[in-house]
Symmetry: C2
Subunit: 370 residues, 2 copies
């Protein structure tokens, strides 16, 4: 069997592929007798094969020409695997403790061979829903974001290097367009893709669509998302893109990565943490000059981040793709109560974000609202 | 003689080149007996040949691997001719009345064949220095800027088209870096390239270098210049890049063009008009929801424009490249008086730009200062 053109793998061809690829076969000590293979991906969007042998393990992720949205799949270029692999390597070089190692990338096959994040690693969102506390999470995520954002921005790059890198990632436009639509446009207009906890939030969704001040702010952030090549951002840094144990934090799945505003990553992460907070009630039944410049830069970044974070929250409640935090609250009415609080907070945050001076004030505001 | 590799033209090889190029020879009716050829370029930076025959005329502009800065030439890629030709064609399609037609482009030879802007066309800066009024100038420049900026921005483009175009112009990084240095950095620090009317403005130049609030603002604008791919801007839209008669306005020389902030073009133009105003004393001895979004967008753009315009003013007084407006004032002391007023106004404008609501207020402020 040859792999010189794209074909979806199965368990049999997977082993042939590994055998033919030294960068992968060496990880398994070239032993194939006792391999255990498990497909854990979303089937017709990405294949994710976990391969465990007696002397080593790895994960093979293969992109298929679809991407998930709602429960349905949308056609989407498998070239996204190229951007995912490129960013995993770049971010991995900058923050090796918090990005899984890439062993191999094959652009033709849209295939990434990478470290298997062994148990007890679980998706952060599931841990948060379960009420687990992660003592190193804040420190690890701050380290990951600080290093990946700073060292891919003009705070570190010279312009020549920056423009070359921006050029390369302009190619990931299809995934950027998806974000533009589902984060920045659809939640603020009538769209067949939108959904919310109906009928409880019907009026709330309508109020979002009719709030001129809110739409003014989101339009400005959308423009920044489209135009501002500030740093190589992950592009989809919600709590479902992080795997954790008590002492390990690993950021995965940067297929949406491109040169965009730093605040989009930071905001995505913060927004999803705030969503997790507001979802908890529904689960309770279960359980100098340089200094001046720096300050202004950081203040703008903080406000950008709050804005993008709020955008991320709102779209998760009245936009196309929802989050398990709320979806797993079985009782509609109870879920709606939680969602409305999150939505109101998101709206306030988007409009009033420039009034906040530090994250402590945001935390206080969350506590007052809840 | 072959033209399949780069060679600088002379009057003889120029005629051979035209004869071998139908797009050019046809403009002259294929007649070569009575040609008048005049080289009006800056010699070792660009050749600009005016070619006039009995039945037609044209201009041949050839980039050499240098660019002017101060009186000296700096090494600079002749690939800039590619970006100049591409932008002349793009902006010309959008604003045909205000951009000279391109007849021919040869990337290997870094050569553009284009319309000859016949007399009485002169460089706008010279006209302003001479105190000539141009009744259609404001209307023409507004039309040119509105069309070229709007139709190359995301207000018109979809993201796919926009990212493709941004990618292409990332290649013009060398000229962007020159702007970064001479507009946004050098005037605010000690640099061997800086100069000013010494000793009169020594203290003023020092004050610029020591003004933290000012440096805070310029740093923010520099960041926007480097990161924000808002529209295909001309990139060097001062009054020396415009040729005029009483009823014609033609924008030339977009070799610095790239996807940058709109305000950089608008500001460059406004800043140079204000410079011309402040120079006059020295010459006197001689002679709804959508609506809301739109308003906010335009207000930001206005403030960006004032900021960039102020930056352009300041750098022309204490930065590397000065302008004829002031340079042609022979008496140093008299020139310094004018320059100081312009500088003080530029500084105020950069720091206070967000207080201005319309261009009328800026005009009033200029009149008060003068």
């Amino acid at each position: 069997m040859s792999f010189d053109e794209f074909k979806p793998l199965n368990e049999k061809s997977l082993i042939e592929y590994i055998k033919a690829t030294p960068a992968l076969s060496s990880r398994l000590g070239d032993k194939y007798d006792d391999l255990v293979i498990k497909e854990v991906g979303d089937g017709n969007l990405n294949f994710v094969f976990i391969v465990i042998g007696s002397t080593g393990s790895l994960v093979i992720k293969q992109a298929l020409p679809y991407i998930r949205c709602i429960g349905e799949s949308w056609p989407m270029t498998k070239e996204r695997a190229y951007f995912e692999a490129t960013t995993l390597r770049k971010h991995g070089a900058l923050s090796p403790d918090h990005v899984p190692e890439v062993y191999h990338f094959d652009r033709t096959m849209a295939l990434i061979g990478m470290r298997y994040l062994e148990p007890p690693h679980i998706i952060l969102r599931k841990g948060l829903v379960a009420g687990i506390q992660y003592p190193f999470l804040a420190e690890h995520m701050a380290d990951y974001m600080a290093k990946t954002l700073f060292f891919t921005s003009l705070l570190y790059h010279d312009t020549t290097e920056h423009k070359r890198a921006v050029t390369e990632f302009c190619g990931n436009v299809e995934l950027c367009r998806l974000t533009e639509q589902v984060v920045f446009s659809d939640p603020y207009r009538v769209s067949t893709f939108n959904r919310w906890t109906s009928p409880y939030l019907d009026d709330d969704a309508k109020a979002v669509r009719e709030d001129s001040a809110l739409k003014l702010e989101i339009a400005e952030l959308k423009s920044m998302f489209c135009e501002r090549a500030q740093a190589l951002i992950h592009g989809d840094l919600h709590t479902g893109s992080v795997m954790v144990t008590q002492d390990s934090t690993q950021v995965i799945d940067p297929e949406f990565s491109f040169y965009g505003p730093m605040g989009f990553d930071i905001g995505a992460y913060l927004g999803n943490l705030i969503l997790a907070f507001f979802a908890q009630d529904g689960h309770a039944t279960e359980g100098n000059d340089r200094k001046l410049v720096q300050e202004k830069y950081m203040r703008n970044l903080f406000h950008d981040s709050l804005g993008f974070g709020a955008a991320k929250m709102i779209r998760r409640i009245v936009g196309v793709a929802h989050v398990e935090d709320f979806e797993s609250i079985k009782d509609d009415k109870q879920r709606a109560v939680c969602e409305r609080k999150a939505l109101e907070f998101g709206k306030m945050l988007l409009k009033e974000r420039r009034k906040f001076k530090c994250i402590g004030e945001v935390v206080s505001a969350i506590q007052q609202q809840s």
